[in-house]
């Protein structure tokens, strides 16, 4: 029976080869092409200039991923302990924000974090700003929150948190309860049950959560524009500038994308080694 079934992959393989692999090859070709059409390495020669941008993007994406993990894991864990009705509703509520365009949601954050925004008005009303000024002898009218790297990280966490929660939750909720009982029967306390049973078993979910948060965070371009003030570029901005924005140079854009892709893939491969050959990402 198995032989028959494997034929089912043929249409899929053809489709993916045509519409996923072939376009990627186009990008690779572009990366090694000069504006005039000849073969060149020149697009990679200037890569050193952008090292700062690479470092900044990877740093912010890493922080965002860690924050997502720190929030996402406990939430998934707690969700899995609630009743089935609550779990279902919670799952839906986590997906639902994506039905509103990310641009609009990010705009919304702008008006919350602005100097004159909702949060600062709230802080003013409850006297937090006055209190802060009293303690530190400063003379602030508001807390500057927007246009900082912190705001960019917040934007990333906000947009990609669901991608962390969903895979972790889907793994934890399927854990075999008898394993936990067995561990307890054998004398493990709560902490040890978590550390030696739950955590290792949920690792596949954690790994795919990390991938799904880290990759879009590294390549985002709207979030840094709107929440970061657009004064410090991220990789996504740099690529977007070459393809869409004020600095049209698709060859350079392709080269930067290629370098980014390679780094990301290397990171993921290394990380998956970590997961003891757990070869498949898990989602939902």
């Amino acid at each position: 029976m198995k032989r028959n079934l494997s034929r089912l992959t043929i249409p899929y393989v053809v489709w993916m080869a045509l519409f996923v692999v072939a376009p990627i090859i186009m990008v690779v070709i572009y990366a090694f092409t000069s504006a005039e059409g000849g073969f060149t390495f020149a697009n990679f020669a200037s890569m050193g200039t952008y090292a700062v941008v690479f470092t900044r993007s990877f740093k912010l994406a890493l922080i965002a991923t860690i924050v997502c993990l720190l929030i996402g894991y406990p939430v998934s864990y707690m969700m899995s302990k609630e009743g089935p009705g609550f779990q279902r509703i919670a799952m839906v509520l986590i997906m639902l924000p994506m039905w509103i365009n990310f641009l609009l949601r990010t705009y919304s954050w702008m008006s919350i974090l602005e100097n004159n925004g909702l949060l600062n008005q709230l802080f003013q009303k409850i006297g937090l700003i006055a209190l802060y000024n009293g303690i530190f002898g400063t003379n602030l009218e508001f807390f500057p929150m927007l246009n900082t790297q912190g705001a960019v990280v917040l934007g990333m966490v906000y947009n990609y948190l669901p991608f962390m929660i969903l895979p972790i939750y889907s793994v934890i909720v399927k854990l075999d309860g008898s394993l936990l009982e067995a561990a307890r029967d054998l004398g493990a306390n709560n902490f040890n049950v978590f550390r030696r049973v739950i955590l290792p078993l949920s690792l596949p979910g954690v790994l795919s959560g990390i991938t799904m948060v880290f990759v879009p965070s590294v390549s985002t371009f709207a979030i840094s524009k709107m929440l970061g003030g657009g004064t410090e570029l991220l990789l996504g901005d740099l690529i977007e500038q070459q393809f869409l924005g004020g600095a049209y140079n698709p060859q350079l854009g392709a080269a930067i994308s290629l370098v980014m892709m390679v780094i990301v893939v290397v990171c993921m491969v290394v990380m998956n080694r970590f997961g003891e050959g757990e070869e498949q990402a898990v989602m939902l």
Binding site: M1, K2, L5, S6, L8, P11, Y12, W15, M16, F19, P23, I24, M26, V27, T49, P84, R88, I89, A90, V92, L93, M95, L96, P97, W99, F102, L103, L104, R105, S108, S111, I112, L146, Y158, S170, G177, V215, P216, S219, F221, K225, G228, G229, G230, T231, L233, D237, I239, F243, L244, G245, G246, Y248, S257, V264, M268, E279, Q280, M283, L284
Partner: protein, 666 residues
């Protein structure tokens, strides 16, 4: 065995949900705002919901979004499920390889995927074109179309391609959890393979399929960048429409449609969940008390009720598809014209009026900036008939032989254009363009937040207002402010001068002068009193005034400034040239110019319309038009004499601009 959560844990979970929903609540609240601002509350109203249903552009894009997402989800769910079953039966090594390929769309930045697909489709189309010509040449039995274009088809292919991996990822684990012997047992007992699939595999993996489909649908709705590069000129999704607006302003109608979508989906999902939960309870009870409630349970779990949500979904899907066929059928064979302009840059009743008068359908799309438009045209993603770029971009397009000469006999209304706007440097002999609107750049400032009125570009670089200044987020305009302050020409090609200008900006950036680099975020920031000074366009200053109590002022600084013209042109080899000229002629009429001027607050190049506007305004709003406002909108010749136009820069200088701009951002 399971311990319930402590109060602390519940509070934590609640806070996380609050975090996820706070911005959405805000967005919903502002969809009921009476004014256009998204920060200043101006009273409750359903105004934007009424506007929404008259806004063809948005309604059409909502429809495209839903249709493409639905079709892509259905196809991807089928394909992905079967592929996952196929995966499952492969040997480990083959499976590993395929899983890697499957992860590519997710490991790849969206923008790269989008551009890659666009490059691929365009390359394929040009290959196809030569192939079709060859085939048509050697035989005459049938004729292949030689010209393929991006459109709904390519959009759908792109969406299917990025959706399949999500389906596979969520179906695969369910397959692995399934007992492998079940299928064999079923087949041993005489099932055909299809029966085994239907009765054994499918129920086992159903939760995976459902969640895969849900994820795929959500991803499709949320996607912007891949659609942007693959949709071509005839279809645009909601996300694309929103993005196109970001050069000018995102209207609250978008908040309204988002609210509606959000609430519909919420309601559907809640209903489905409640039903499922009730079903499960009954199931449970039936198991506990086999006889007593069996009848009752049977009543509730009869197929008709358990499939209600599915039937609702299928019904909605069918309705949408029928709608699609109907719309396609109704418009098939009708002449069309594909227009690309800026977001919020036309009074949309004009589109309807044009369609009724001429029977020509208008596909109206928007780009985010001149540069974005250029890259759309260059990469082949935009095959429009009419575009409305600004002066310097027009020169560049002419230089690269991308525009078609107009037949002015078909555009009699061109005679109405004031002589001031004819034969301008970008089109010296007026062979390619008909002006659309014009305006100036200046400094907008909040009189309460600065010590004295601003008169000079110095304000954009002095530390006096550090942290309260907004700078353009596009290279040409940002560099222009620095060149003006330094007293150099806006069109200088001197590398030293340009470097000096960039250094001025970089120094100000290091000194913390700039709060941020903005395009349409400027509205939110100036209207809400979050920033004191901003360089921006005159027309947009005027629409800010409608929405704020902040004392905003506008000045064209003493050193002079830039004045610009946006003009309509037809692209080379446009398939609908005559329709395009009909559209241009219609828009150039005095009535259309008056309506447009009133809607977009940019001045018209039509002499009559310019003269009549104050009277038109008075009649419409029953109050006199403030002459100062009129002067800001349609600057006097005196002011224009102090301003320079942008000219197209030579290739080397453009590359230098790109380089300097990127350096500034690093």
């Amino acid at each position: 065995m399971k311990k319930r959560n402590s109060t602390f844990n519940r509070v934590f979970t609640f806070l996380v949900f609050l975090f996820l929903y706070a911005p959405i609540l805000l967005l919903i609240v502002f969809s009921f705002n009476a004014g256009e601002s998204s920060t200043v509350w101006q009273g409750f109203s359903f105004h934007w919901y009424r506007e929404l249903f008259q806004d063809r552009l948005i309604m059409r894009s909502v429809y495209t979004t839903l249709l493409v997402s639905l079709l892509a989800t259905i196809i991807a769910t089928f394909a992905g499920t079967f592929a996952a079953i196929g995966f499952y039966s492969l040997r480990r090594r083959q499976r590993h390889l395929l899983t890697t390929v499957n992860n590519i769309p997710m490991m790849n930045a969206d923008i790269v995927t989008g551009v890659a697909m666009c490059l691929f489709f365009v390359a394929f189309f040009s290959g196809w074109s030569s192939f079709a010509t060859w085939v048509n040449g050697i035989q005459s039995v049938f004729e292949l179309p030689t010209r393929l274009t991006l459109g709904f088809g390519t959009l759908l292919i792109a969406h299917i391609s990025f959706n399949i991996p999500y389906v596979i990822l969520s179906v695969s684990p369910k397959l692995r959890q399934m007992d492998k012997n079940l299928v064999d047992a079923a087949m041993d007992l005489g099932c055909t393979w299809f029966q085994a699939f239907w009765k054994v595999i499918l129920p086992e993996i159903k939760p995976g399929i459902v969640s895969g489909a849900l994820t795929a649908f959500t991803m499709s709705v949320d996607d912007f960048i891949i659609s942007y590069f693959t949709a071509g000129s005839s279809s645009s999704t909601l996300a694309m429409t929103i993005y196109g607006m970001t050069k000018k302003r995102v209207t609250p109608e978008i908040n309204a449609i988002s609210t509606l979508l959000f609430i519909t989906v919420l309601a559907l999902l809640v209903i489905t969940n409640i039903r499922e939960a009730r079903m499960e309870q009954l199931e449970q009870r039936r198991r506990d008390l086999p006889t007593a409630t069996a009848a009752e349970a049977a009543k509730y779990s009869s197929p008709s009720s358990s499939r209600l949500p599915a039937m609702l979904g299928a019904g909605a899907a069918a309705a949408l598809v029928i709608c699609a066929i109907w719309v396609a059928g109704r418009n098939a064979g009708k002449p069309v014209v594909n227009v690309c302009s800026w977001g919020e840059y036309i009074d949309e009743t004009l589109i309807t009026q044009f369609e009724e008068e001429t029977g020509i359908m208008v596909n109206y799309q928007t780009a985010e900036s001149n540069e974005a438009l250029y890259s759309l045209l260059k990469s082949g993603a935009g095959d429009y008939d009419v575009v409305v770029p600004s002066d310097y971009m027009i020169s560049q397009l002419i230089e690269e032989d991308m525009l078609e000469e107009l037949n002015y006999d078909n555009i009699p209304n061109f005679a109405l254009v004031s002589d001031r706007f004819k034969n301008l440097p970008y089109d010296p002999d007026n062979r390619y363009t008909v002006p659309y609107a014009w305006g100036t750049i200046g400094i907008i400032y909040n009189a309460d937040m600065v010590d004295e009125p601003i008169t000079s570009w110095d304000a954009m670089f002095s530390t006096e207002n550090a942290g309260n200044v907004l700078m353009f987020r596009n290279s040409r305009d940002a560099m222009a402010t620095a060149l003006l302050k330094l007293g150099y020409s806006l069109n200088t090609t001197d590398e030293a001068e340009l470097r000096e200008a960039k250094e001025l900006l970089a120094q100000a950036k290091r000194d913390g002068v700039y709060q941020s680099f903005v395009m349409d975020e400027v509205y939110q920031k100036m209207e809400g009193g979050n920033a004191a000074i901003s360089a921006y366009y005159a027309g947009d200053y005027l629409s800010m005034l409608d929405n704020t109590d902040e004392p905003l002022e506008f000045v064209v600084p003493e050193e002079g400034s830039n004045w610009f013209v946006d003009a309509m042109c037809v692209l080379k080899d446009a398939p609908h040239k005559e329709e395009a000229e009909a559209w241009i002629n219609f828009i150039a009429s005095t009535e259309a110019n008056l309506a447009n001027m009133d809607y977009i607050w940019y001045a018209s190049p039509n002499e009559e319309a310019l003269e009549q506007y104050p009277a038109y305004y008075e009649e419409l709003y029953e109050e006199e038009l403030d002459p100062e406002i009129y002067e800001i909108m349609a600057a006097s010749q005196e002011t224009l004499d102090r301003c320079q136009m942008y000219l197209v820069l030579p290739y080397e200088t453009r590359s230098l601009y790109n380089k300097l701009w990127t350096e500034l951002g690093i």
